[in-house]
């Protein structure tokens, strides 16, 4: 997924090849990750697509089904991956992810610790930020979840940047070998306050911790614990509002009905009048339904000694 491997870099000359991961785009809300295998096919409600026909095409191309319906074949990015990955847990989305990466001050070469791994949605973006020389060490309590995450990082080509461990971070803390080596720590745990003392030990001075929690009580307890060794403690919430763009017909009101005062002449208002005075405009308005809450993001910086 990342251009660390030069042959995978986007380019006018880059062609889809056997073994590539492609994002099959039907609509903005219907996408799927597919590994290209010459003999394989993709089947959806629009028909059957042969992988062999995809090979050799540039990324971003259309592909046709046997019924003539088309999809687009996109190069994977962490953003697209977040939309297609298997949800093993509640995942983080682009707004939270982007703020986390920015506030954790991640740059190439950083070492970052994460728990839990969950569905690996954030890990992918963490890896992108610390590539090519940094590393993400991510831990999950669940053996199977960790295994699935490892498979995913293999599939997306990130396994050289992300190491998945199985560990109960709330109970045991992070492994001692990371003491003082972490530039940043990210916690997404039901009782984050239990893991904070360990996170503190892992961080370099002035390193940043982030804790993601859906409930305010979790934030309250975490902040209480943070105040002893951390500074610059800040809690945020971020939402993303999306807008629908469409060509709308906002009619001019019937001038007759409005303006001709005192005159006895009056035409019946008809649909035709409306059309006559109408103006089609391209307008945007917020989408009516949205994610109302994901979680609170609490950031804190380790005090310098």
């Amino acid at each position: 997924m990342l251009p660390t491997d030069e042959t995978k870099q986007l380019s006018f000359n880059r062609r889809i090849a056997e073994g590539d991961l492609v994002i099959v785009y039907e609509r903005h809300d219907t996408m799927k990750a597919v590994k290209v295998i010459a003999g394989s096919v993709l089947q959806n409600r629009f028909g059957v697509y042969k992988h062999s026909e995809w090979i050799g095409k540039p990324f971003g191309s259309k592909a046709l089904s046997n019924k003539g319906r088309f999809i687009y074949l996109l190069a994977p990015t962490p953003e697209l991956w977040t939309l297609v990955l298997n949800h093993r847990t509640q995942i983080l989305y682009i707004a939270d992810i982007s703020l986390v990466v920015m506030y954790l001050e991640l740059v190439p070469g950083c070492v970052v610790l994460e728990s839990g791994t969950g569905s690996g949605s954030l890990s992918t973006s963490l890896a992108r930020a610390v590539a090519p020389s940094g590393h993400v060490y991510t831990f999950d309590f669940h053996e199977e979840r960790a295994a699935s995450a490892r498979e995913d990082f293999e599939k997306t080509g990130l396994s050289n940047l992300v190491t998945v461990g199985v560990r109960d971070i709330q109970g045991e803390g992070f492994p001692d070998e990371f003491i003082g080596l972490a530039d940043s720590v990210f916690l997404d745990l039901p009782q984050p306050w239990l893991a904070i003392p360990s996170a503190e030990k892992m961080l370099k001075q002035d390193g940043v911790l982030c804790s993601f929690s859906p409930c305010i009580e979790q934030v309250q307890r975490s902040c209480e614990v943070l105040r002893s060794s951390f500074t610059d403690i800040r809690t945020f919430e971020i939402l993303l509002r999306s807008y629908d763009v469409r060509e709308v017909n906002i009619k001019d009101s019937n001038e007759d009905g409005l303006v001709v005062s005192g005159s006895r002449k009056r035409r019946q208002f008809s649909q035709e009048d409306a059309e006559e005075n109408s103006g089609h405009q391209v307008l945007a308005r917020p989408s009516p339904e949205a994610r109302g809450h994901t979680g609170y993001l609490t950031f804190a910086r380790l005090k310098c000694l």
Partner: protein
């Protein structure tokens, strides 16, 4: 994974030493956060550099070699007051643990008579070498009303006096996060009101990562260019594209502590040079631009930038211009923004850019992007920041009509900060209500490619 993990982590930590340095050095840029955000000052550390706080100029020499995140205070010495590092173990709790509900402020009358210590008394204490904290304690001891205040009001009083008589200076690392926040607070118009969360979204949506070639149109004083360069870490290029003959200012890039390796990867190029299909010509064009431009924008004056911020609306903000410190070596950022070499321009024309970010609020987005989309590789993502919804709506509609891209979305981030204190948790009473709009999408491989 223990043994290997440790080695990996250690070597990774070494590799990033300069870009991710955690201790200041002579010549490095720092962001001084004075009194918890009241004032924000960028400066370059040198033995000769000073910062003015109140009526005094303080040498920045004590700051050289301290960890980022260190806190300084004013101490009195033989040669007058100077900045000295606060012992972290002595730092108290930041806030009281609970509210005292039994007291209220009804009985208090706030007149000047409540304080018996005069200005002359304070000056006398100062000249006798009293520290700021001692003056604050004396003020509290001589306040007739302090004892009757609620603990919350007591804390407020202490804080107010402390800011005046015992200012605290926090040495912040100039990273995209702190730089964007500082400008947004003090000079939002210089960065086109680009909020830090919006910036973070632009970087995600444009898939910015090492080993990429990112095209930016950045009329936001270089904040976009700098943020991209920080993420590239010296791997790949960020190309600041401009219309006409003059590159856009990259002033803010100087605020970062970029190594020369990173600065070399920040280049400028005119859009017309990027758009010519004749590569032989474009080689000449590149040189031509370099020759005709007076200076890359990064060599402008204004070495120390005082982003003074006050919570009171009335306070007038004045930009302190201090000379002398910035021209001292090593001024590593000076190479940032040089004209793109013919070689790299040819490479971009052959391969296409990895992605595009536009932050040019005064220009119609459609009029820019229609010419730039062909420069992007197939399947490359792009993101356009704008302050107005309608131009983005029109732009999105046109891109759709011409089938240039898919996955088009207009988004607006909504960011809220909270006060989390025992029994007093709530969102901040003042908020930035607007972070701008972003149109994002993925270029498809069509006739235009």
């Amino acid at each position: 994974m223990s043994a290997i993990a440790r080695d990996d982590a250690a070597s990774a930590a070494e590799a990033v030493a300069v870009h991710n340095a955690r201790v200041t050095w002579e010549g490095c840029s720092v962001l001084l956060d004075i009194n918890d955000g009241d004032r924000l000052v960028f400066c370059r550390l040198s033995p000769a550099a000073t910062v003015k706080i109140g009526n005094n100029n303080y040498s920045l020499r004590p700051l050289i070699g301290c960890p980022f995140g260190s806190l300084f205070q004013v101490d009195s010495g033989a040669d007058g007051p100077f900045l000295s590092r606060v012992d972290p173990s002595s730092q108290g709790k930041e806030v009281p643990d609970s509210i005292d509900e039994s007291k209220d402020n009804r009985a208090l009358v706030d007149n000047n008579k409540a304080q018996t210590l005069t200005g002359e008394d304070i000056n006398a204490m100062r000249s006798q070498g009293a520290t700021g904290d001692e003056i604050v304690e004396a003020l509290i001891a001589n306040s007739a009303t302090f004892e009757n205040k609620t603990s919350f009001s007591q804390e407020k009083y202490r804080l107010k006096k402390q800011k005046k008589y015992a200012p605290k200076i926090l040495v912040r690392r100039p990273f995209t996060r702190s730089i964007c926040e500082a400008y947004f607070k003090k000079y939002p118009h210089r960065i086109g009101f680009l909020r830090v969360d919006t910036l973070s979204l632009l970087l995600s949506m444009a898939n910015v990562t090492a080993n990429s070639n990112i095209l930016v149109v950045d009329t936001l004083s270089g904040i976009l260019t700098g943020a991209v360069a920080e993420r590239l870490g010296g791997h790949g290029h960020v190309c600041s594209a401009y219309m006409g003959g003059t590159p856009y200012s990259l002033d803010i890039v100087r605020m970062f502590n970029f190594s020369s390796e990173i600065c070399k990867r920040i280049v400028s190029c005119s859009i017309s040079d990027l758009s010519t299909t004749d590569t032989a010509n474009s080689e000449n064009n590149g040189k031509h631009v370099a020759a005709t431009e007076s200076q890359p924008m990064t060599l402008q004056p204004s070495d120390m930038e005082d982003v003074t911020v006050s919570l009171e609306k009335e306070t007038s903000y004045n930009l302190t211009e201090t000379n002398g410190s910035f021209n001292l070596k090593p001024c590593k950022s000076s190479k940032a923004g040089e004209p793109a070499s013919a070689e790299v321009v040819r490479m971009w024309k052959e391969s296409g850019f990895s992605s595009l970010i536009i932050g040019a609020p005064d220009i119609d987005p459609w009029s820019i992007i229609k010419g730039l989309l062909p420069l992007l590789s197939h399947s490359a993502p792009f993101a356009i920041y704008h302050q107005y919804l309608q131009p983005l709506a029109t732009c999105m509609h046109n891109i759709q009509q011409e089938k240039l891209a898919i996955g088009l979305q207009i988004n607006e981030p909504w960011l809220r900060e909270f006060q989390v204190l025992p029994a007093r948790t709530h969102p901040h009473m003042q908020m930035s209500a607007f972070g701008g709009y972003i149109l994002s999408g993925t270029k498809i491989c069509g006739s235009a490619g």
